[in-house]
């Protein structure tokens, strides 16, 4: 009976959240439509919002650091769930609604990872030069003279050995095309030849590390990692706005079976690998595009984003922090770091008395029970399993990498440049020209970028996928294998203790521990009751 009454309460709330998000969308999507203007209309200068000022960036980093310090103190030193809750709400306000979920350490992963950029090398084409009766020197000089048209291009060598090298982007591709259409006159009265026909342009991917990453982003990425290495996932406890919004709705969480948690927990690594793969190859920021809550923080966004966000929140009423536990790529990084942390939140402030009262206190399934007692273990079997699984690690990793290499070409289609190149190529092959049948090809046809440039760029990007995809898929396979191994290793556990990888240091379990309770009463000056109990 009581249970059903709760459902009556929770369901409207949940529905409300969904519909609120949808309504937010309805408000957000209806944009001002451009009036039908005559050609004389001069569009006004639209002031673009200024980037966040330098000072405010310092403030953001300072606020983050302060939150981390306070959260760690609240979780480890003061063991104050109330304090953590207040901090969570503050973080939701500041990093969530005020800073609109950006910059965030989760998204920062994509900025700090190395990136494949594409470099173009333009060299005189000896055969073409000969065919047109032009010397390589002449061609090299013509190109050298135009190197200044690029934002940054280097030249080296002379004649045949001349190389013009530059980073490829939309502007440089256009400039390459424009210069390629300029003509130089061969000796005699032969018609002038386009410069582009006299050179070979090769494009290749180059991996660049930490190129042009603002220090604020590095700080946002690194500070929580440092905090985790010191004190466990206190960032997740009360600083992360995504965690905070989920924590706020987790009213009636159910316990998931541990095995299900282990299985679903893998998805975070898949997400991490996919996001890094795309970011590294320059294919876009998956994490930011799929952030379920950023639309809610901004009260605006695509309908699907808002619906997913609302859906995750509704789910979060019953299944605590689903995003954190099964998807968050930053959490996937924090898990192993937290295992190594110098200090970590504990359920009990003192020795565990194995009263079992905290057994179901953790909504995240992060409390590990003691694994001693009972019949003695048949040691051999466990060891065999472990040995077998250890052997599996390299095999599985190799298989994963091989699979990635096999599918790299298809995966590369996620990259917009490759997708565009393929669409253009398809039209070219079918009709001999880019007719602009689809939006993509039509936009390209109007872009002044020569087809060959686009195709070469597409090939170069694809080559970067040929490297990055096996690494990503091998990484996923490695994680699966290591997870299997870790589940086969038996570490002796005498007490109830949080699983350091999964524990978010949220402090919910403190109150269930009678030792903690006693400690609290003591501090208040009261005498602990003879019988310990866990009610309020």
């Amino acid at each position: 009976m009581r249970r059903r009454r709760w459902m009556l309460l929770v369901l409207p709330v949940a529905a409300g959240v969904v519909i609120a998000s949808a309504a937010t969308h309805l408000v957000a999507e209806q944009r001002f439509s451009v009036p039908e203007l005559s050609e004389d209309y001069v569009p006004p200068d639209v002031p673009s919002p200024a980037p966040r000022s330098r000072t405010m960036q310092y403030v953001d980093v300072a606020v983050l650091a302060a939150f981390l310090v306070v959260a760690s103190a609240a979780a480890l030193r003061f063991r104050s769930r109330g304090g953590l809750v207040v901090l969570t709400l503050l973080a939701l306000g500041y990093f969530g609604f005020y800073r609109r979920g950006c910059v965030c350490p989760i998204g920062a992963i994509q900025r700090v990872c190395p990136v494949f950029d594409v470099r173009a090398l333009v060299t005189p084409d000896a055969a073409a030069a000969e065919a047109h009766g032009l010397s390589a020197e002449r061609i090299a000089e013509a190109w050298r003279a135009r190197a200044g048209d690029f934002a940054a291009a280097e030249t080296s060598g002379r004649g045949r050995d001349f190389v013009l090298s530059l980073w490829v982007g939309p502007d440089s591709k256009r400039t390459l095309g424009r210069i390629g259409r300029e003509r130089i006159a061969p000796p005699g009265d032969a018609p002038p030849v386009p410069l582009g026909e006299l050179v070979r342009t090769e494009m290749r991917p180059v991996l660049r590390f930490a190129h042009g990453v603002p220090w604020v982003i590095v700080a946002f990425f690194a500070l929580p990692l440092v905090a985790t290495l010191l004190f466990g996932r206190t960032f997740c406890a009360a600083v992360c706005p995504l965690g905070a919004i989920q924590e706020a709705v987790a009213l009636k969480p159910v316990q998931l079976p541990a095995w299900l948690g282990h299985g679903l927990g893998l998805f975070a690594y898949v997400y991490l690998a996919a996001a890094v793969l795309l970011a590294t190859t320059g294919g876009g920021f998956l994490i930011c595009r799929q952030d379920p809550f950023v639309g809610i923080f901004r009260l605006s966004g695509p309908v699907i984003m808002l619906l997913i966000g609302a859906g995750v929140l509704v789910l979060g009423v019953f299944l605590a922090r689903p995003y954190c536990r099964f998807l968050c790529p930053y959490g996937a990084i924090l898990r192993p770091l937290s295992r190594l942390s110098w200090r970590h939140a504990t359920i009990t402030p003192d020795a565990c008395i194995r009263c079992r009262l905290c057994e179901s206190a953790c909504p995240y399934g992060a409390i590990r029970a003691p694994n001693t007692g009972g019949r003695p273990a048949p040691r051999r079997r466990g060891k065999l399993t472990l040995a077998a699984l250890l052997l599996v690690v390299p095999v599985l990793t190799a298989a994963g990498a091989w699979g990635g290499a096999w599918l790299a070409g298809r995966v590369a289609r996620m990259h917009p440049t490759v997708a565009r190149a393929e669409a253009v190529h398809r039209e070219l092959a079918a009709h001999g020209a880019v007719r602009g049948d689809s939006d993509v090809t039509e936009a390209f046809a109007g872009s002044d970028v020569p087809v060959d440039m686009l195709l070469a760029h597409g090939r170069a990007v694809r080559r970067s996928f040929a490297w990055a995809t096996p690494v990503a898929s091998g990484f996923i396979a490695l994680v699966v294998a290591l997870k299997l191994v870790s589940l086969a290793v038996r570490r002796r556990r005498e007490d109830y203790a949080p699983d350091r990888a999964l524990c978010l240091s949220c402090g919910r379990c403190y109150a269930s521990c009678p030792v903690d309770h006693a400690r609290r009463l003591e501090r208040k000056g009261a005498r602990p009751p003879a019988e310990l109990h866990a009610t309020d």
């Binding site: 409207p12 519909i19 007692g373 007719r435 038996r490 866990a534």
Partner: protein, 625 residues
Amino acid sequence: MTETSDNTTNRRERWYRAVAATAGVAGAVALAVSALLVLFVLRGYGDHPLDSPRWAALKAELARTPRDDPAARAALVKRLRTLDAELRTAYFARRRRLAIGAYVVCAAAGAALAAGAIALRLRRRPARVAGAAPNRERAERAARRGRLAVAACGVGLAAVGVAGVAAIPAPRTLSPPSRPPVRPVEVATVEQTPWARFRGPGGRGVVVHRNVPTDWNAPAGENILWRSDAIPLPGKSSPIVWAKRVFLTGGTSEQREVYCLDADTGQRLWTRTVPAGGRSPEFDESMGTGWAASTPVTDGRYVCAIFPTGDLVCFDFDGQRRWHRNLGTPDSAYGFATSLVMHDGRLIVQYDQYDDAFDADKPGTWRSRLLLLDPASGETLASVPRPVTDSWTTPVVAELAGREQLITVGNPLVIAHDPADGRILWQADAGGPDVAPSPVVLGDRVIVAVPNAYVFALRGAVELSDGRQRVIWQANEVTPTICSPVSDGRRVFALSSWGTLACYDAATGEAQWLRDFGGQQFNASPSLVGETLHLTDTQGVTYVVSTGPFDFDDTAAVDANDGEPVVGGIVQDPTTGKRIAAPVRTCPLGEAVYGSPAFQDGRIYIRGRTHVYCIADAEHTQETP
């Protein structure tokens, strides 16, 4: 239980009820307001203001209102503007209301959550210990289950991943595809010399064939090889012919089309709609040149056509669209009408347009330009600004003074460009307002006709030596307004659109004779076939006129039997006393004609207002079934 603890429990229970009720009420408010919002939105509350039926109706009315009723249109436009402002204001008011609703929902949902959390706390039960105590075996069982789950998830992931990615079609090679070469449709013999652009080879209006018909009567079916079906859209452009294909264009303010006819049967082989890329241009429809005045051009591979909307389109001979570009709607008082030219693998567009702020001293602001494009891809090869405003002439490429030049006539300049890169070679102040006649080149000279001003002969050398003037001679006995002049090398024939034909000496500009066609209106440019001129008036009547030899014999010009003039005959103009060329034949088509005819071996293709005719002598007519 003591009384105090009873009291506490009661108080707790009361609190619980209050808070739970609050949560319920807040949840219900959130739900109700959201439902309301959804209802509003479903009822079109958030609809785009310009989707309003009132707006659409008014717009349709505007479209129906004829352009020559500016007062009515202005009134309508004013109403549209008022309605627009009204609709937008209402729309933003609605949006504000929706936003308020969304905030209410958020606040209520937040309150419900908070109250729910408190209520839960009030009802919190002491933790209970249930089930067996943990031990090694249970831990191991759990680990085993965990391993199974992880293995299952891993296998599932791999399967879904591989299946999902493999479902993506295999990647393409991305090596530059060898473009399927568009092979030119061969024209094997000199008989098939194509009439590939406005006014045929070189834009000269000179027919290389000597065997074209000189006599026909379409209403009577005489010497008519075929008459096509009605061409769907009207057009003042001329037909062009390459091998067995006739191409032409048609258009209205709504739609533009390119047609391909079989040259032997007149059957329409394909009809292609031109994508509409530009704004509709505004020009005076009654005076204007219509929606398809520019003649298309072909090089045997591609057929390119341009329209007053700025839409430039390219098809191959099979009607496959190769590319389409909108060059930006050109401003033109009578609508853009310049025809396209292809030369040496380049498509040439003389893209002159009106500019009320035209300033010859500010090159950066010139709106007119010469465009060179790659006909295979539509890529711009060169775009050269031109210091002129709108014109209706078609350029010609010719060898002048030892080099190839592209001669254009604009307002106010005649400009010669380098056809390879568009560079301006020279310019002369010999253009003028409303120029429509295209230039002709003879030898090293350029003949230009400026309406209501002069016919000029200009020197075509890039550099003029020893203080020579650009203008060699100028004449104004007859100055064509629409029809382009034509020359046989010795003489220049100029036809005014009200029907006066002049023959000027090409060397001196002296008028040798004039002939008046009595008030007929001419739009088609004259064509020179051997010693005769074909002049087609807007009624569709073609006058086949002798140009006359210089040393004529007056008496031989008249048939002794019936006193009618014969071929090559010259008559004395009764009013001026000048000797003039006599019409040898008048050949009716039976419908209006605006474009110039296209000539082929033994054939003439004329586009009437609605049909295309192929004229051929009876022997030719019988030759082909």
